[in-house]
Symmetry: C2
Subunit: 233 residues, 2 copies
DNA sequence: GTATATTAAATTGTTGACAATTTTTTCGCC
DNA sequence: GGCGAAAAAATTGTCAACAATTTAATATAC
């Protein structure tokens, strides 16, 4: 049977909006974005009705999104009390950085083994003068964007979907704290040096070095976070 | 305010059953158990109404459990089609074992550093004669139980909640395949040797060796799975 | 008899209403 | 005015009915 014709005037090929899974995904992305950028601060409460109204979705669909955010550790829900943006403790931050060290160092090694050395040249160039200029100009958002780009490239080159899916939530969870450290402590120039070292190892096709230097980079990042944890957590 | 007295005859201290979060958790555990043990085979479809009836919960609550199972990768849901027990592909299995290698080797190192060497003595003993006897008697369930015990101890000693929560789903996902390899190929005696080596390193307080040997153990396990993947996937 | 279209049944997704719980406000009392 | 109990409001969790979609069954043409 052909589907009953949509009322004249409604856009022809738009999914029936009633069951479009995309509308839920959009809301989920929006919430994740607000949390990882700090628009929704750690500890903030998320009220169902008002949020649902604002995002123009029903409460049930918002709750579906909540379930996913909870599963990835971005929010905490306590029965009958509500949902709150997850607040990183110092102990949990340490755990997260240890997990990232294990997974990202493996990624670095895999990336070095999988991708041809020449394929990293553009990142060598990007992290030389251009990113240096960004840091010196105090454009930390630009710096962070380049770092994110490198990370995506590394993870993609590693070719491990499972690790990629584990790292996503871990990066989201540490995003706010990382950003605060960068903004508050001028650590970007230190970080830049570390990233250059990792990229150089990839460019040289040296998997061992790439792995080792990614480990070192995360150790440094953790040390900085620990030093300023009263400020950023 | 004191809660209004329950109708006479109803068990006094039972939570109002209407909103008890435990009932949902029980159903979730039951489903996870059925999947990881293979009672619900990879690819099997999970129908909402019949399952809800069987578990004596409402459909909405079952769907909540489905959301969690999907988030941990134990089931796949396709819109309007239903939920199916996740089926591991060979490529994904490789990814999972790489991720486990990264995380479990880190755990082994942390465990060696955190826990006093003497604390591993009971596992040294357990994996000597007693487990050897189990393997020789063909009691693979007993063998797997001991392996699970060791893993719990190692993860607990590592003291990293985040890694523990990442490993849980990974272990669940590979559980069925692992079990099939053991049962079908007599690989238990090989595995036993590897586990003994890891435990010996922990007993000696040698973090480097523990890490390295855990890596080796997982490499071996992966090699076995790859060899027999047509049989077990 | 096989293939294709049509109808019916079964299944999933979403909504709105209701119940249980928490939080806020109001009221009485000292 | 401050403290505590009671009532009211707001908020979350659950359910049952309904809508949308897929799957199975039936009929029809060739």
């Amino acid at each position: 049977m052909t589907r009953p014709a949509p009322p004249p005037g409604s856009p022809p090929s738009s999914p029936p909006t009633q069951r479009d899974p995309d509308v839920g995904r959009r809301a989920l992305r929006e919430l994740r974005h607000r949390i990882t950028t700090g628009v929704l601060a750690p500890g903030a409460q998320l009220h169902e009705q008002s949020l649902a109204d604002e995002l123009a979705i029903s409460r049930s669909r918002l709750r579906e999104a909540f379930a996913r955010l909870e599963a990835t550790g971005l929010i905490d829900r306590t029965p009958n009390r509500g949902a709150f943006v997850h607040r990183l403790t110092i102990a949990e931050a340490r755990d997260v950085f240890q997990a990232r060290e294990a997974l990202e160092s493996m990624c670095a090694g895999l990336a070095a083994r999988n991708a041809p050395p020449e394929s990293w040249q553009d990142l060598v160039d990007l992290f030389a003068a251009p990113t240096q200029a960004l840091v010196e100009a105090g454009d930390f958002e630009g710096y962070l964007a380049n770092v994110a780009l490198f990370r995506r490239r590394m993870i993609q080159a590693a070719g491990n979907q499972t690790i990629a899916e584990l790292l996503g939530p871990l990066l989201d969870r540490s995003a706010v704290a990382m950003r605060r450290v960068i903004l508050a402590t001028n650590r970007a120039s230190d970080g830049l040096v570390q990233y250059r070292a990792v990229i150089a190892a990839l460019r040289a096709g040296d998997a061992e070095a790439a792995e080792q230097r990614k480990r070192a980079q995360l150790h440094e990042a953790w040390a900085a976070l620990e030093r300023y944890h009263r400020l950023v957590l």
